[in-house]
Symmetry: D2
Subunit: 371 residues, 4 copies
Amino acid sequence: MNRPWNRVPVAVLGSTGLVGQQFVRMLEDHPYFELVALAASSRSAGKSYAEAASWLAGGEVPSGARRLTVIEGARPAVLGAGARVVFSALPRAAAEPLEAELRSAGCFVFSNAASHRLDPDVPLLVAEVNASHLDLARSQVARHGGAIVTNSNCSTSGLALALGPLRPLGLAAATVTTFQAISGAGRRGLASLEILGNVIPFIRDEEPKMLRETQKILGRVDDGRVRPSGLEVEATCCRVPVRDGHLLSLRLELETQVTADEVREAYEAFRGLPQEMGLPSAPARPVLVRLEDDRPQPALDSLMGSPWRARGMAVTVGRIRASGRTLRLVALVHNTIRGAAGSCLLNAELAYRQGLFGPMQPDTLGLPLAQ
Amino acid sequence: MNRPWNRVPVAVLGSTGLVGQQFVRMLEDHPYFELVALAASSRSAGKSYAEAASWLAGGEVPSGARRLTVIEGARPAVLGAGARVVFSALPRAAAEPLEAELRSAGCFVFSNAASHRLDPDVPLLVAEVNASHLDLARSQVARHGGAIVTNSNCSTSGLALALGPLRPLGLAAATVTTFQAISGAGRRGLASLEILGNVIPFIRDEEPKMLRETQKILGRVDDGRVRPSGLEVEATCCRVPVRDGHLLSLRLELETQVTADEVREAYEAFRGLPQEMGLPSAPARPVLVRLEDDRPQPALDSLMGSPWRARGMAVTVGRIRASGRTLRLVALVHNTIRGAAGSCLLNAELAYRQGLFGPMQPDTLGLPLAQ
Amino acid sequence: MNRPWNRVPVAVLGSTGLVGQQFVRMLEDHPYFELVALAASSRSAGKSYAEAASWLAGGEVPSGARRLTVIEGARPAVLGAGARVVFSALPRAAAEPLEAELRSAGCFVFSNAASHRLDPDVPLLVAEVNASHLDLARSQVARHGGAIVTNSNCSTSGLALALGPLRPLGLAAATVTTFQAISGAGRRGLASLEILGNVIPFIRDEEPKMLRETQKILGRVDDGRVRPSGLEVEATCCRVPVRDGHLLSLRLELETQVTADEVREAYEAFRGLPQEMGLPSAPARPVLVRLEDDRPQPALDSLMGSPWRARGMAVTVGRIRASGRTLRLVALVHNTIRGAAGSCLLNAELAYRQGLFGPMQPDTLGLPLAQ
Amino acid sequence: MNRPWNRVPVAVLGSTGLVGQQFVRMLEDHPYFELVALAASSRSAGKSYAEAASWLAGGEVPSGARRLTVIEGARPAVLGAGARVVFSALPRAAAEPLEAELRSAGCFVFSNAASHRLDPDVPLLVAEVNASHLDLARSQVARHGGAIVTNSNCSTSGLALALGPLRPLGLAAATVTTFQAISGAGRRGLASLEILGNVIPFIRDEEPKMLRETQKILGRVDDGRVRPSGLEVEATCCRVPVRDGHLLSLRLELETQVTADEVREAYEAFRGLPQEMGLPSAPARPVLVRLEDDRPQPALDSLMGSPWRARGMAVTVGRIRASGRTLRLVALVHNTIRGAAGSCLLNAELAYRQGLFGPMQPDTLGLPLAQ
């Protein structure tokens, strides 16, 4: 394998699913990471990735991935190919033991699975909001040799990015009703008869996730553990016949009075560490504000946030209405990008730049960091 | 015209639109009312109703309506045909002067238009919730010779029926996010490119309507006027790609602590005057409760509430979650039936039985009142 | 069980699926048949039908079925409950041995499964088109004690009813492109991501079925076997995001020149044995003709064909364009009713009236035959 | 205006509509053409393009166009801004006189409107199929000073590109059933209630266009006029709930026997003048072949055909089935790109390179011609 020695070799687990494909798409020509192995279930094993994937992530299968053969099993894929960083799009049950095992083998696992999100020493990271939680990973390295870093549930990503910039205003309570896209249920998760021309006002396990994950993300690290925020998040999660893009109708109670203009300014001024460091997958601005009455809309705004690699990485907010200490707004997040693979990759970029995988080598530092 | 003298002759204005068609459908073989005239715009005038309507209300055009010729103009249609009761599905601008004019001509106008809903002496009626407001119509008769009785906006109908049974628990505040069907925008109100595979988080004028109309409906009549309820209703109204059925995600603050079971029982026990009187279009139970995790759903539950004529007249609630004085639930209303034509007709049935149009005649009383 | 002795006891196999539910719906208060048993897979066994079914067939679960408990296994369901006639909505693989077994046990199996459709001694019946093929069932009775009678594939039902009335014109060749509804793939057959906002130009096994089944239906019985028609049917079968109703775009080559008016008249004049005999599920007219430019449409015309029980039993044709010996038209069939359960039930009604299950009893003859 | 003198200044008429937006998108950083003016109706006039457009063409409004102010009226827009080449996305009625007028003023009008498509001296061009017809434009220049060059109707574009490569096999007859996307009806052309969950088997004027336009495209220029091909095209045009991408189910009769492999090879080998010349908007291959059973699909394949500017410029075919001299296949064309703006722009690029606007200047020739 003819590989520039200075990019970190990475593997993708669950690589043929919707989130797996987004990993593959976003890793194309990545400045820090080089895709060296793709794992999937026995059904795909041995096939070329192009054949196994039934590509749905837009455009064509990236040429780098096209040449790879799908490997069955995480261990062979990762360790056999010499990957040091692993992106996991595994289902929850499979992820739990496998990710821990890979960590023990010294790997750095960036996982979209829910299994370890609430583990006390595992960071649940939304890179613009709680980058400091990455410290938790360092103590994992000390204990296990490697580390697991998780990103949040798809709708929680949108919520966290909508809440993060408002923390200075004091977050007292959040009520959210979601309009979630069908791709959030996975490739075959939702039958067409269930959702065509319909709304389903329930998504299993989603509402408690929005509560617990948001509390962890907004919490602070104290003595090597996260002390969760006490913010109450009351969620009603609904599925709508939209392909991509989760829309959230939010009502927030704040600790201070605000005007809509102040909120808009808070969003527009907001930048996180990924923006400061110019991480490759960071959107120029984490939160975009639409001033039109009827935006954001999934069909128009899900992919916003240029440049190309970062398309779909920004959250778009609109319909900002403030009254006293009550604030209402609508937020939109691309669920398989910012809500899954994209957030996960951004976390890995942050970890890379912060030296989690070891001291950075001189020539790596010389790489162009923005695309 | 060979007409049994004891049914009240009625006309429908705006008869070819979606709501107009529901009027026509529900008036077929009605025990109190006989359809004698159909009015529409000049484009339809002179055509047979079957030809003019491009029927969308399910099944075939009722045979009674099929034989009628569409008349241009409300006055000729109503007065020329000797109609005494008028069902109005006119657009707001047209409705305002026309309905007042017909009232002055001694007609009883049951209107789905927004024009007069907030007039101080016009009842805004959800028959199971505020039947007593019908008294306002009597003073109109004294002043104008006839009366206008309005029903609420489509989503407000669902909200009012979800709130009504909970009044004994003390309603302190309501936050609602709606998922509204495309038929609520009228036949050509929403372009397909706007909504296919999309959500639009805004519906013009809908949110203030939900506030003002709910406050009036829940208000009490005092000295010939409605004293509105002070209930704050914060609404975020969204359009989804669903044909029929508005879904509401509700968060209520109550004045007392409740359990989900108490709320369920309150809904199941709830009956209004229409049920007590056995009005022809009254659903057997105004509010149906679903216990499944994932109901109600527009595609499955919008038309619930047998028997036939009353299909779509019940509101379905589900996902009842109570915590202290906070209550969350989902409610579903069929927007062109319970949210429009059906509520309007039920109001007329109530008015008929309460003698608004004059003393009831002996043989009318003998009619079978349930369908 | 308090059962009038003169209705035939029947069981439904695969009763919780989409087609199974249509059987249950159409058997409610049936004049010939009494539903005595419902079978389904082990997942549903032991549950009440209302609980097991997740009812999708419109309205509420019929009260007769609501009281039944779902039985696992065809044999226990049928033989244990004393059913003599069986309606099968089983998947193909399960149907093959089970239906043969029930036939050997003396049952009359009316099956929607594809397994036995092309068996030489099994009638493949579209009751208005080839009622005479029912004779094949009599020889089965002689050999096996019971008989299997099949109806065609859903899209073939529509094609056969569109072709049948034109046989006097000489059918030379048929090219058909279908627009098939998602319910044709079964409850979970098609993932929402596959079809939302999309067209899939392929349905596995459907095209050869349309050829072979149409040839058998249009064939004639000769010496106890069907001699298939030589009509070439070239089909391209596509899935579209529509809930119910398969639309067919047809191009026919005839042996004689025709005009559009002649074709329209042939359709309007067409009646089959079910109409002559007034079978309960027979539509008043098997083929309805729409003259508008833009009809039939699945959302408007699928359920046409009154009265109630027969809704969805008529095929609707439109866009008739003739030029020389070439004819083009569009046909629409409700796929789970006329294309499945309804056709199957109509076949059973025909068999019942023709005495297939034994000599008809005097008091049965006295039953009102039309609903 | 700081403009490199060697790019041709161009204007877009009807610039805010769906096709107009595609022109604007594809003209961004175009190597031959520089966008200098945007015209639209009085409703948009005076607004910035970003404000007027309600951008739907993906991503953000290109920065070049973002700075322009929309001008009312074709003449002021074109002549006032010094545009020499005009791209017209006008509606038919407006296009007819305006385009002729601009031609008389010496402009070169590349039009997507139907008005002049069948004029004897106006080329109806699908650049890979009948590039030689561009000669007709030269005689227009002689007569009028400028010229009008048209592209075909959206579904005809797909048909012509599917037929072109097969001409060597002898085209005897074509039967086509279309599945057309809603964007083909324009921004507000189709109400959501008409098409959500439905199929409409009729599109006004579309079927005769497919016949006449295909005959002209496949005809040959003889004595300054097009002698149309005698190919019979029988079309049934249907609308389906898909955003972008017209799918065509085709049945062809050829003059020679073919195999599916021969057809596939004919498509894969096919290249036109745009490919030979490396025109900026030319797809690398005009026709892509999919070998999977179930492709092409609008949601997956409409935008195929890299690189970026040429995305959506290739037609994708699949399901090739040959039997004797009969061939069946499915073709997919992106209706607002290859079926409209993209084809129109490609025609202009061809004309530019063939010197239609005057002798090419040395430094123009030096421009990089591929993107």
